[in-house]
């Protein structure tokens, strides 16, 4: 990738993180760490991969993105606003009384939300259904589903994994946000997922492994052709971008106080 393109994407990622910080601060909501681990993935998808038109969000031939780990909603809202699905001002209307954007996803809230979600283990099944429908009607739209690593504890995820490979759904891509921390502990201490690549491979998927914060790697993996369903295991850092939030369980839950907000914003501004 050209250096200036890479710098542009980095700058957008930083803007997203600042939006998320402001939203979480204003609302005193949780899950900032889970939003920060997926920022580069979302930026890559929404700037370089997804064939979507914010002016025509229900185009039947569009690509569809499902954020199955819907608790990362603030990052999704921020990128949707940045690419023009709704006004940036909406980001100030998140979570609090009589606002627009809920903590988890409601497809009736704003354009660009493909499915209402919040409980884990739902998004991949829905994505499989969408991929089947598109293939049957020769619709070129592709389906992308972002799962969390902890979400892969859910049995329903593996039901969907089996059906997708059985049907050889070549229009389906999964990205796993492998930040290695889930609700109440280290992912592989709660329930070991290793060898995670071999597991997906054994279930018949094309498997890619990337640094989930590196645009070149993400782009290569997302653009790679595939004849069946593809999974990209993206190694990420929970809370990525703010030193004291990185790789901690606390910032799955906490919302910043004034000092923490100022320090976090200071760190993010220094990255600009």
């Amino acid at each position: 990738m050209q250096t200036d393109e890479n710098e542009k994407l980095k700058a957008l990622a930083n803007t997203i993180r600042k939006h998320v910080l402001n939203m979480v601060m204003h609302a005193q909501s949780s899950h900032i760490g889970a939003s920060y681990s997926i920022v580069e993935i979302l930026v890559t998808l929404y700037t370089n991969i997804l064939k979507i038109d914010p002016k025509n969000p229900t185009d039947p031939y569009r690509d569809k993105f499902l954020l199955s780990k819907a608790h990362g909603s603030t990052a999704l809202y921020a990128i949707l606003a940045e690419v023009g699905f709704f006004p940036l001002e909406y980001l100030n209307r998140y979570y609090v009384d009589d606002s627009i954007l809920p903590g988890h996803l409601d497809r009736e809230s704003v354009p660009g939300i493909e499915f209402s979600m919040g409980s884990l283990g739902h998004g991949l099944s829905v994505g499989v259904g969408m991929a089947i429908a598109n293939r049957q009607t020769k619709n070129p739209g592709r389906i992308f589903v972002l799962l969390s690593d902890g979400e892969c504890n859910e049995g329903s995820v593996w039901e969907a994994i089996m059906l997708a490979s059985h049907l050889k759904l070549a229009n389906l891509t999964v990205i796993v946000d492998y930040n290695k921390i889930q609700s109440f502990g280290r992912t592989n201490e709660v329930i070991n997922q290793e060898p995670v690549l071999d597991r997906w491979r054994a279930f018949g998927w094309d498997v890619w492994e990337v640094d989930g914060h590196n645009f070149d790697g993400l782009l290569d993996a997302l653009r790679a052709p595939h004849t069946g369903p593809k999974v990209i295991i993206a190694h990420t850092v929970k809370g990525k971008g703010v030193s004291f939030m990185e790789d901690t369980l606390d910032w799955h839950y906490k919302s910043p106080n004034k000092e923490q907000y100022e320090q976090a914003m200071h760190e993010l501004e220094n990255l600009d």
């Binding site: 209402s116 409980s119 829905v126 429908a133 329903s156 969907a160 059985h166």
Partner: protein, 301 residues
């Protein structure tokens, strides 16, 4: 009822290429013809109920009209959260078709019985709940379910239920259907107890007691107005269902009576909040739960 259902669905599928059928690995000797006629609109998702409902939602949000077929406990309760979120919260155009109302699968055991499904499904926003009692109701309600663009639950018996209504009877979704006139008692049935209700009414008739028989084939939206008018007849009302006494037809009627501000003699007949540990046929199960024979009611002459 299941043969009537699948024949009706095949007819709908011939007319509308959006109609899609998912089975959760059920339907031996029932779904084969649909599969042969519409191979690209038929999917067996395997024995994986949660995934089946999510896949159905994804298809529906892509413009399909999806029917999902299985035995009642597996298409409602095994995948309940997917029904609640993927179908109801997302208001997806998916129809759940459950076979084996109540204790239809008698000797299979309580794992295959369904006595909680009506209560559960009627408590879900956006969900329509249809409980046909004979092939006439099944055929017409299946057609009307296709017109609804939100989730629907269709509770079916099994096979071989007799026609209670005449061929000309018009069944209207959301409205109670009167089967017989009567001035001594009102009997309201739902689902597969319509046949039993009709039998009781015929027996009472021989005893000189005239019973107004109502088939409440739509549990949601509930025909509140019809129940209000029945209350005004000022004769006893009995509800009859092969479902837990808690949360089903009887509860729905009781809610209307309670809010009507009027007093009326009222009795719910159903499964007495117990699982069956009895081994035996459908009718045997009904006998054990006291819903096989008509209640002994003393009528003032």
């Amino acid at each position: 009822m299941r043969t009537t259902f699948i024949n009706t669905l095949r007819d709908l599928a011939r007319k509308d290429e959006r109609v899609f059928l998912i089975t959760i690995d059920m339907g031996y000797s029932v779904l084969e013809q649909f599969r042969e006629e519409f191979p690209d609109r038929f999917l067996n998702t395997g024995i994986a109920e949660q995934n089946a409902i999510g896949v159905a939602a994804g298809l529906a949000l892509s413009g399909k009209i999806v029917y999902v077929y299985s035995i009642i406990p597996f298409v409602t309760m095994r995948c309940f959260e997917q029904v609640r979120l993927d179908l109801a919260y997302n208001n997806a155009n998916v129809k759940l078709v459950g076979i084996g109302a109540g204790m239809t699968y008698g000797p299979f055991g309580a794992s295959h019985h369904s006595i909680e499904d009506i209560a559960i499904m009627r408590s879900i926003p956006n969900m329509t709940v249809l409980c046909p009692g004979d092939p006439i109701e099944t055929e017409q309600l299946t057609r009307q379910s296709y017109e609804i663009k939100s989730p629907v639950y269709i509770r079916l018996g099994k096979n071989g239920e007799p026609k209670i209504h005449s061929e000309e009877t018009k069944i209207k979704l959301g409205y109670a259907t009167q089967v017989t006139e009567g001035n001594d008692l009102i009997l309201i049935t739902t689902s597969n107890m319509l046949e039993k209700g009709k039998k009781w009414v015929d027996e009472w008739k021989e005893e000189g007691i005239s019973v107004r028989l109502i088939s409440m084939h739509t549990i949601k939206p509930f025909d509140v107005q019809a129940v209000k008018e029945l209350i005004d007849h000022n004769i006893p009302i009995i509800t009859l269902e092969e479902h837990n006494i808690i949360g089903g037809l009887g509860s729905a009627v009781a809610e209307v009576i309670a809010e009507s501000g009027k007093a009326v003699s009222f009795k719910r007949i159903g499964v007495p909040d117990k699982y069956s540990h009895y081994v035996g046929s459908h009718e045997f199960q009904r006998e054990k739960f006291g819903i096989a024979k008509k209640p002994d009611i003393k009528f003032r002459k």
